[in-house]
Amino acid sequence: MAEPRVMDIKDQPGFRTIAIICLLVLYVPVLILMIFSLNSGSLVTHWEGVTLGWYGTAFLNEEFHAAARNTLIISVTATIVSTICATLAAIGMTRVKPWRGLAAAFMVINLPLMVPEIITAVATLSFFALIAGVFGLNFGIGNLILAHTVFCIPFAYMPIRARLEDMDLTLEYAAADLYATPWSAFRRITLPLLVPGIMSGAALAFIVSFDDFTITQLVAGPGQTTLPLYIWNQIRRPMTPEINAISTILLMVSILFVSVSFLIARRRAK
């Protein structure tokens, strides 16, 4: 007895195929890049066999060490500073009576997201050149840390603000009713509830700083090579699968932090 086929009202013809194609298009090139990091031959295009040797080569490479060290110094510092600033700003912009200039402040915080990266890059370069010329000030790697902090703030700010807005305010009111001072209500109630938002924001800030190429390339001085810059320098030489190995490491770091941020956000939603 044939059952009458029920039409799923949500379906549209061909959409499944396009979705699967999109996923393949997004992943196949990156997967090929990762697979070739295991190539035992020294060509990036010709497959010879499986080895982990190129990871070893990368880990023993002095230049790679220096680049990894610079990257970590910059992105860890920028993440910490930007997450603290973003947390304070999110509280200062949600847990207050609307103040004059609030909309403008919100725009300033989000500005780095709206300005194309290349403009931020040349503007920052011009700025540091100017203060070096006029005041003789050069913060060394601090230049890069400051530049990164600026564009990390909005990324850290978004999930923290979202969390503050979703939060059930009755708990804070209850604390206030029970004579908690504003500070202890914040420390004992708001802050613990805010931790997932802060962690999610910090993870995003870390990724964007860790991965940044454009701004770093223009602002970096000599000896301030980061991992993306190191990869760029390698592209212009004859390439070996070492570059695939280093690229794979960078991708893994991104995937790890995105997944962490994503899982925190999911748990919150449940």
Binding site: P29, I91, I118, A121, V122, S126, L169, E172, L218, S254
Partner: protein
């Protein structure tokens, strides 16, 4: 009004909440936004003002600027000064690069929309558990290193890359097809780079779609096609606009993609600006070019604000 006075009068729930909020969060909380605003103000906004100033100065011979007023940077955008008789001659070189970039950005936006909309819709109609996986799978490329992702495209389309090797191996062609360092390569790279930027905002708008409306449309004898064009697409307009903007703006100012896949032969605005600060050694010109790009972005943002404000946000 003091709290004591407040408690004696009946208040709407909203007003009570606000009164309470004021009580627990002192006025001075607004000062907490100061560190973030100062950092972005000094190291983000001030540099933008500086390049406005720089664009009206004269280039120093070895990079940097000389403090002397001039509008040459803007004139140079369209004209070249003749060395001998000092007349201005129309040279559209820069203009062509701007128009090319605009075209690249428009094509990228359109194709991303054509691919991204069905994908986002398909994701939004999955059962919740499956939906989370799809979102994670699109989120990962969204946040992955753009340089590395572009490199992955480069490996595939090189003369001795995977596509050419496969085609030669299959006997379809006997000489590799040159794809790298062509307009095709840049276009492909832009699509690859920005596809997730289209899918995610579309998804978050489609996820909130009220499917009872689709049911109602079918009850009123709409066809699938009519449901798509007359119900689903109009309802997801905010997501479509947001997605288009999120693709168009970074595509217009793209730097990494044309740098790696265009090989310095096929320039886009991003490379052009960077060049003035590098080998071009003409900072004022670079600043002027950056500000012209910024103007284009502001125009796009203006249309976005005009199209979204004044309407009820869904969800």
């Amino acid at each position: 009004m003091t709290t004591a006075a407040l408690s004696s009068v009946p208040l709407s729930k909203a007003a009570l909440f606000e009164a309470q909020a004021v009580k627990i969060s002192a006025r001075r909380n607004r000062l907490l936004s100061l560190p973030a605003l100062l950092i972005i103000g000094i190291f983000g906004v001030l540099p933008l003002i500086i390049i406005c100033v720089y664009s009206f100065l004269v280039a120093a011979p070895y990079g940097g600027v000389q403090w002397q007023f001039s509008t040459d940077a803007y004139l140079n955008f369209l004209f070249q000064r003749d060395i001998f008789d000092d007349t201005l001659q129309f040279t559209p070189d820069f203009l062509i690069i701007y128009l090319r970039s605009f075209l690249f950005a428009v094509v990228t936006t359109v194709i991303c929309l054509l691919l991204g909309f069905p994908t986002a819709y398909f994701m939004a109609t999955r059962p919740p558990a499956q939906r989370n996986w799809w979102v994670l799978l699109i989120t990962i490329p969204f946040w992955s290193n753009l340089l590395v992702r572009t490199l992955a495209i480069m490996f595939i389309i090189r003369d001795e890359g995977l596509i050419n090797n496969a085609l030669i191996g299959l006997g379809v062609i006997d000489k590799p097809i040159t794809m790298l360092y062509t307009n095709f390569a840049i276009q492909l790279g832009l699509l690859y780079a920005f596809l997730p930027f289209m899918v995610l905002p579309l998804y978050s708008s489609l996820e909130k779609l009220d499917f009872r409306l689709i049911e109602a449309a079918y009850d009123l004898y709409a066809t699938r096609r009519q449901v798509l064009w007359r119900v689903i697409i109009p309802l997801s307009k905010p997501g479509i606009i947001a997605g288009c903007l999120l693709v168009f703006i970074p595509a217009l100012g793209a730097y990494v993609t044309p740098l790696i896949l265009g090989g310095g032969i096929h320039l886009m605005i991003g490379d052009l600006i960077a060049q003035q600060f590098g080998s071009g050694r003409n900072w004022p010109l670079g600043c002027a070019q950056a500000l012209i790009l910024m103007t284009a972005v502001l125009v796009a943002l203006y249309f976005y604000v005009r199209n979204t404000s004044g309407k009820v946000q869904h969800g």
